[in-house]
Amino acid sequence: MALSPEVLAEMYRRMLRIRLFEESAQALKTEGVIPGSIHLSIGQEAEIVGACMAVERRDYMLGNHRSHGHPIGKGAALAPLMAELLGRRTGVNQGKGGSMHLADFSVGSLGESSIVGSGIPVAAGAALAAQLRGEDRVCLCFFGDGASNEGMFHEGLNLAAIWHLPVIYLCENNGYGATTSAREVVAVTDIADRAAGYGIPGEIVDGQDVVAVHEVVTRAVERARRGEGPTLVEAKTYRYDNHAFGLHIENYRTTEEREQWLRRDPIPLLRDRLVADGVLSDDAAKTVEDEARAEVAAAVDFARTSPFPEPAEAFDHLFTVPLPARTAG
């Protein structure tokens, strides 16, 4: 089914938001106002938005350390995300999580978790909850090529498969886990092939093509909603930046490889296509760009002017229902 012009324009808008959010994060990190490490999604916007827009707001989502883009893809407000990067009280996690745990539960997130592979079984559990209650909810779980080598990948996919859980496991294969090539450490050429070991479909998709990703993930979502169980989708993509900001190791990949992927930068790819197809006029595209730029700028302003939490707030949120206070713990 062809996507409506509105949906295509919204895809472009969300991809741009991610790109511009990430560029601002880069600048703020350079300036020194973002503590900790940040892992950028620049280059991966299409697979993020294509997948996120194939599910509904009520559907669950889990991400990983490289998850600035996932909440944005699912429609989260930018300001609390940016404030979280700066460790502010107005941040989506009230300053408790930062870049590597940037989760907005109001758009269905159940966590963006920085232990590689750790979200995979949790996603199965969320889907199990939906299944047990007879709710029409699926769970979209993002993880990297590197994470597919973790034991939790095996345990989680097997569990989701035997119980026919409504999960879409979306492997963002950007070719590398930190500085290690997937070719070196993954025994199969395509991670999607691993699906066969769990008796579930494995789909490969061009991660630079938002429409293609949307189509494949939509198919997986439909299958999940029909109660037929999980799908493993492998989106072939590339991160244009270092593994983590400021980690200046580039000897593990070639300039030619990077340039080849840059020629398939998902943002101009989509823009050109939308303009050529008459979905967006040049002016309309420009308006989307200006609006996204303004939204990100407002988010940065909001973050900068927000207060830090008070030191005593470190003791909040350990428990939902704290036990009676005692002399010592």
């Binding site: 428990f319 939902t320 036990l323």
Partner: protein
């Protein structure tokens, strides 16, 4: 009124809570087939959806229970024997314990994780650990180690209703101890210690299976004219240290009996708290009676002496009275 064993009490607690709240369900290895004795007739009464056999995948059990809890269910994850939880260590520490905090209170994780600790049957090193101290070092987990049928039933019910993750370490040595339980429903609150026996000369804090041993030691010592107060913290994290400190204030002497390995045991934590906050009430050094820092060996004559028995506890009490 029939006597109820500790093991039966576990089953009653889960059964009552499952009847009361449809969001409660059990998952774990062999739970549908009642391998460990606490889910007798559960499948018949609740169905396989709510009494779910899992693959032998402890990480997935912990993770799926956590995800289901975050998505509004109240799972009871049965890990069978406590050391199997090591396989799920990362999920329990990174996901179960940290999600409420790291997401700034956006989510709650009302999950119960149960496991039994086995002793004295030649289970050897890999099946005999008492891992609660390891988990006590992790903020964000409520940890209980009930020592009686009454407590395990009332505390497990409270744990299932609690909105935070609760790890329940059940003591295999207590499985077949029995007592009369009330016919009417009752709860035992988390975070409240219990004085199991009042006394005036020495406080013995007992953990899990060491509580019955401490009570036996108190009986023995009473014949020698020594009055022992036995305190059971019941909840190990966060612990009701006030009850322990109040007891030490009264008796001036402290022995802590803990089946865990000595280093960084629950006993270590209790000793540290009393040294810090109750020092001026102490008339003698604190003594810990724990499992020595060696693996649990197989041969019965090797294993038996390592446990904090009533004899070892009694000897420790005598030593603080010298």
């Amino acid at each position: 009124m029939a006597k109820t064993t500790y093991l039966m009490a576990i089953g009653e607690a889960m059964r009552e809570e499952m009847e009361r709240d449809p969001s409660v369900f059990i998952l774990g290895e062999d739970v549908a087939n009642n391998l460990y004795g606490s889910t007798s007739n559960f499948v018949e009464d609740f169905g396989k959806e709510r009494v779910r056999n899992t693959p032998i995948s402890e990480g997935a059990i912990a993770g799926a229970a956590t995800g289901a809890a975050m998505a509004g269910m109240r799972p009871i994850a049965d890990f069978n024997i406590a050391p199997f939880m090591y396989v799920a260590m990362d999920q329990i520490v990174s996901m179960t314990a940290k999600s409420t905090y790291i997401y700034g209170g956006q989510t709650k994780v009302p999950v119960v994780m149960r496991a039994v600790m086995l002793y004295g049957n030649g289970n050897a090193a890999q099946h005999s650990d008492r891992p609660y101290p390891t988990f006590m070092t992790v903020p964000g987990l409520k940890i209980i180690a009930p020592s009686s049928a009454y407590d395990v039933k009332g505390m497990l019910k409270s744990a299932i209703r609690d909105d935070d993750p609760v790890l329940c370490f059940e003591d295999g040595n207590c499985w077949f101890t029995a007592e009369d339980l009330p016919d009417e429903e009752y709860l035992v609150p988390l975070g409240v210690a219990d004085v199991k026996r009042e006394g005036t000369d020495v406080t013995v804090v007992g953990i899990a299976g060491a509580v019955p041993q401490a009570l036996a030691a108190a009986e023995l010592l009473a014949e020698e004219g020594v009055s022992v107060e036995v305190v059971d913290p019941r909840t190990l994290a966060p612990m009701d240290t006030d009850t322990i400190l109040a007891s030490v204030e009264k008796t001036g002497r402290l022995v802590v009996a803990d089946p865990a390995h000595e280093v960084c045991s629950a006993a270590s934590q209790i000793a540290a708290v009393v040294a810090e906050h109750g020092f001026w009430h102490l008339q003698a050094p604190i003594v810990r009676v724990t499992t020595p820092q060696i693996h649990i060996p197989f041969a019965p004559p090797l294993e038996a002496p390592l446990f904090p028995s009533s004899e070892r506890i009694a000897a420790a009490v005598r030593s603080v009275l010298e």
